[in-house]
Subunit: 360 residues, 2 copies
């Protein structure tokens, strides 16, 4: 029974609502979970109580081009500082989940081949962290984590086919079917960013061509912005590798404020995303989508509107039912919050996919 109801179990722990079930292993008041979103530019730490409420949050420097060893050192030090500052007793931490862009090796707890975390291949972050931390450790995909978090906090009915679309530096998705995260063959399902929207389009790091990520994600939008930088002066765009998030936020803010060039760039990004989402929905026949991630924090409503409109015009099953398109309430933190949800879920019922590794 527990294995069947993975996500809803943590939902149950979180909300106290839903179909009542007996949970024997957890004392909701006594446990905390820590979620870490590991990115190139920043790491977000979040701690939640077993009830799902956020008890602490911190944003620190990301992996950048540092070696995985050096980043692991920082992560360990930061974790210690974070839980100490939050006053969370070690013994009450159910675990820490570090989430990052795919592809991942669920078996080895490693990041495989990410355009922003290139040097991480073959490095088992999970094993190295589990040697260094005295709490259970889990490594998972950031978009999958965000979807679990959104599903959980929204108390989505288990019968709904639900997907979380996540835009950080890349673009991904988490799919929730019958109340459980859909993992696929190797826990690499949901790679919406690598839907080709132009089969002869731009080559992508993944080996494919025309991937939507190459058009819709922040780096691509800023690449286009750079070509029109003369018409974007005054927005304070730095166009550096480590300022992508910052630059994109500025551009999105200008777009929302009515700057015509910025508006057109964000609208183009949204148009690409919407095209990929229609194909995704046609394959999965989804009831509800939530958009989350730092890159939709500013201009989320532009993206939501574009996706909603394109689905209404062209989703294959639109005569049967509409697709609800919602925005995350806390888009910048949704992956880290979802990571904490994964810890609670995994500590209750392990299920498929990456597992919590307990310290020796």
């Amino acid at each position: 029974m527990l294995a069947e109801g993975i996500v809803r179990e943590s939902g149950r722990v979180a909300s106290g609502g839903g179909k009542p079930r007996t949970l024997v292993e957890i004392n909701p008041g006594a446990l905390y979970a820590v979620g870490v979103q590991l990115g190139y530019e920043s790491m977000t730490f979040v701690a939640t109580g077993a009830g799902g409420g956020i008890v602490a949050r911190q944003l620190v420097d990301g992996a950048s081009l540092d070696s995985p060893e050096k980043v692991t050192d920082r992560l360990v030090a930061q974790f210690d500082a974070f839980v100490d500052a939050a006053g969370i007793p070690r013994a009450s931490i159910a675990g820490v989940a570090v989430v990052a862009p795919g592809p991942l090796s669920a078996d080895h707890g490693a990041i495989l081949r990410s355009p922003t975390l290139r040097r991480w291949e073959g490095f088992s972050l999970r094993d190295r962290l589990s040697e260094r931390l005295d709490v259970p450790v889990l490594i998972d995909n950031d978009a999958a984590a965000a979807a679990v978090g959104e599903f959980w906090t929204r108390r989505v009915p288990r019968t709904e086919t639900f997907a979380g679309i996540y835009m950080g530096t890349g673009l991904g998705a988490g799919i929730i079917i019958d109340g459980a995260l859909y993992r696929g063959a190797s826990s690499n399902a949901g790679e919406l960013g690598h839907t080709s929207v132009d089969l002869d389009g731009e080559p992508c790091f993944c080996g494919n061509r025309g991937c939507v990520e190459r058009y819709a994600a922040p780096a691509a939008v800023l690449h286009q912005a750079r070509e029109q930088s003369g018409r974007l002066t005054g927005l304070g765009l730095a166009f550096e590798d480590h300022t992508v998030t910052q630059d994109f936020d500025r551009l999105a803010r200008a777009a929302v404020g009515g700057h015509p060039v910025a508006e057109s760039l964000i609208a183009t990004s949204a148009r690409y995303l919407a095209a990929a989402v229609v194909s995704f929905v046609n394959v999965l026949d989804v009831d509800r989508l939530v958009l989350s991630g730092p890159s939709i924090a500013v201009a989320g409503s532009v993206y939501a509107r574009a996706v909603r409109e394109r689905l209404m015009e062209s989703a294959f099953a639109r005569q049967s039912h509409g697709v609800r398109v919602e925005l995350a309430t806390n888009p910048r933190d949704s992956a880290a919050i979802g990571a904490a949800a994964l810890v609670l879920q995994s500590s209750v019922s392990p299920g498929h996919g990456p597992q919590l590794i307990r310290p020796n």
Copy 2:
């Protein structure tokens, strides 16, 4: 337990293999199922024993432009003639499943809006058939049925994420997760044909643009062939609405035989299919694919090779695992065989999706 193991239950009935389970309701020797693939050009009738073996098969004229009422009359008459000729006693028929291209309304047992079956909208084929036939009736998607049939006859392990890609006049897919057909919100999942491979491409009947079906499916290939008809003389292509399947078979045969123009047309179709399949696999993280349907009957190996190669070059999770790409052994009949499998499955454990409606 039964509701959980839908497909595997019928697999169990079919093969006698796999994990043994006690099935109380079925006497394998005593029951037959009838599957009908309803298409524009032809209808395929198949009868299987409860063991899954084909006991009878017949190909008759399709729906063409006839009214749904007229086609229903023919279908009823043909069903009677078919079971009589096969010597199957009425009382031993578990049901008949009619499968057609989507979108369908599972609630109403109706075909909604198909480019080749345009006049069927609002006509509940299921209810009309169930008034006329003295056996239970089920309406479902042809590609979904074909996937179930392939999963079943191959004895695919339940832990595999499996998909059947079906190319008839259109292009679709059935997705099998944890041993059960994945239905989505409205039983319209798996519409691979409406993956846009060019967001500004050709408009599709579905309302979207650049759908892969508009490039890879037979009608599209023949449209391109027509433009080069001077270089295709001697192949006997008629280019009529009712000769699409025949023409496509001829073209595919010429391609396999080395005719350069035909070869290039089929290769282009395969290239488009492969591009859409990579996006599909990136979202679903599939273990195994089977290609089936009448349109891959002749040049299936060209399609399989194109899909296999593109997946090896550019599937997102290729470092984690390969994707097996197989061909149906009986591609022309796979939807009708799968339809019969759906009847057996539905009569054992109803599950989600379209249901067998028993006669009054």
